[in-house]
């Protein structure tokens, strides 16, 4: 059985149907949470941002215009919340770890350890933010180039270029994996 389009379910939610919210949440939250996890590289911040995003969605639900693509709409809200939060954090202080020290950058890990999916996951983490975000939106969240461009406030050509450059970097990272463990 095919599911109703997300946009229709969103309208039902705006009209006051709590079950529709559950459906929207079930279908949107995994992609959104994955996106936020990779954007923030911090589980707690990703969880906070997920909650903030759904709060904003709830408050602005009567501003959702019929016909607007819902998943990109929600991801764009999340991205703006992330950028606002990062800007505010930068103006306050550097991020400190729980013991009050500046956190160490993650060590680069060998791409040829573990299975391919793990290697891809790790290689994605080492990409520059712009490339990682473009690949995340198009490959993991499943947005089209046009939708990803809307979320990233840029052109589809620029997204295509970022994805392409990200692929090239990934290819380099995963070459060791393709050769297999020495």
């Amino acid at each position: 059985m095919t599911e109703a389009p997300l946009e229709e379910i969103m309208i039902a939610y705006v009209l006051g149907d709590a079950q529709a919210f559950d459906d929207v949440y079930r279908r949107v939250s995994p992609q959104l949470f994955s996106y936020l996890l990779r954007l923030t590289r911090n589980r707690e911040r990703a969880e906070d941002l997920l909650q903030i995003t759904f709060t904003k969605l709830h408050r602005a639900r009567d501003s959702y215009l019929m016909g607007a693509p819902l998943l990109p709409w929600v991801i764009a809200i999340a991205r703006r919340a992330f950028l606002d939060e990062r800007r505010a954090a930068r103006s306050r202080t550097e991020d400190l770890s729980s013991d009050g020290k500046v956190p160490e950058p993650r060590p680069a890990q060998d791409a040829d350890a573990g299975d391919l999916q793990e290697a891809v996951e790790r290689a994605l983490e080492t990409l520059p933010e712009a490339y990682r975000e473009a690949i995340q939106l198009t490959k993991v969240a499943g947005l089209s180039l046009v939708e990803a461009a809307e979320v990233l406030d840029t052109t589809p050509t620029a997204v295509k270029l970022r994805v392409h450059r990200g692929y090239n970097l990934l290819r380099g990272q995963l070459q060791g994996f393709a050769r297999g463990p020495q």
């Binding site: 559950d22 995994p30 997920l50 019929m66 016909g67 993991v140 052109t155």
Partner: protein, 227 residues
């Protein structure tokens, strides 16, 4: 690269999901989701009423120098331009609007057309020192500019209110279009009722304010239009 096993989407923790669900459904009251076209029609009617009111008040105080028929044609043409600006800005739901470059190009085209219109309407042109030295010229320009900004801000505020929190994708650009639409209401109404036909007065007192309104809309867009 398409054959790579891309990471699966990750489910949020159940406790967090429950908290979000409680937060988003506890006060769930039915709301009406307006169709973009309905809001667009409301926007066109509101800015049209404001435009006609300003024009009527202005013409009562300073009747147009040219024939009333010609002045009315001018008002209708600029009214259509305002409608087109609103259509470009809000005719489709966010995420399905025209390309950014096309929308910026349209803003530039309307601004250039308005400046061209002002240049054609000018009957005299003082040199800059002359213009700056004549007290009433500068004062008149400032008065026109302030009035144009006040009327433009009134129209822009109404439009921002009608479209608040609707565009998470490009709120600044949509804000700039809103500034242009609001600015046109003030600038065109004032231009059609202002008796001064000196070029610097028109460019600075009427044209520059339209540019300022676009800038104001751009800077306020993110706060007002993003959810």
């Amino acid at each position: 690269m398409d054959s790579l096993p891309w990471p699966e989407a990750i489910e949020p923790p159940p406790a967090l999901s429950s908290a979000i669900r409680a937060q988003c459904t506890s006060d769930l009251v039915p709301k009406t989701p307006p169709h973009p076209w309905r809001r667009l029609v409301r926007s066109i009617i509101t800015s049209g009423v404001l435009f006609v009111t300003l024009l009527a008040v202005g013409w009562t105080r300073h009747p147009p120098e040219s024939a009333i028929g010609l002045a009315l044609v001018g008002a209708v043409v600029w009214g259509v331009v305002q409608g087109a600006v609103l259509f470009v800005g809000y005719g489709s739901p966010p995420g399905r609007r025209a390309k950014r470059i096309a929308r910026w190009g349209f803003i530039g085209l309307v601004l250039a057309s308005f400046v061209a219109h002002l240049s054609l309407a000018a009957r005299t042109r003082l040199s800059i020192p002359e213009f700056a030295s004549v007290h009433h010229s500068v004062r008149g320009t400032v008065v026109c500019g302030v009035h144009s900004l006040i009327f433009g801000l009134m129209a822009m505020s109404v439009l921002f209110y009608l479209w608040r929190r609707t565009d998470p994708f490009s709120p600044r650009l949509t804000g700039a279009v809103t500034g242009l639409a609001g600015g046109l209401v003030g600038a065109v109404a004032l231009d059609m009722t202002c008796p001064t036909l000196e070029a610097w007065h028109l460019w600075l007192g009427h044209g520059l304010t339209l540019g300022l309104m676009v800038a104001a809309g751009w800077s306020l867009g993110r706060r007002w239009l993003a959810p």
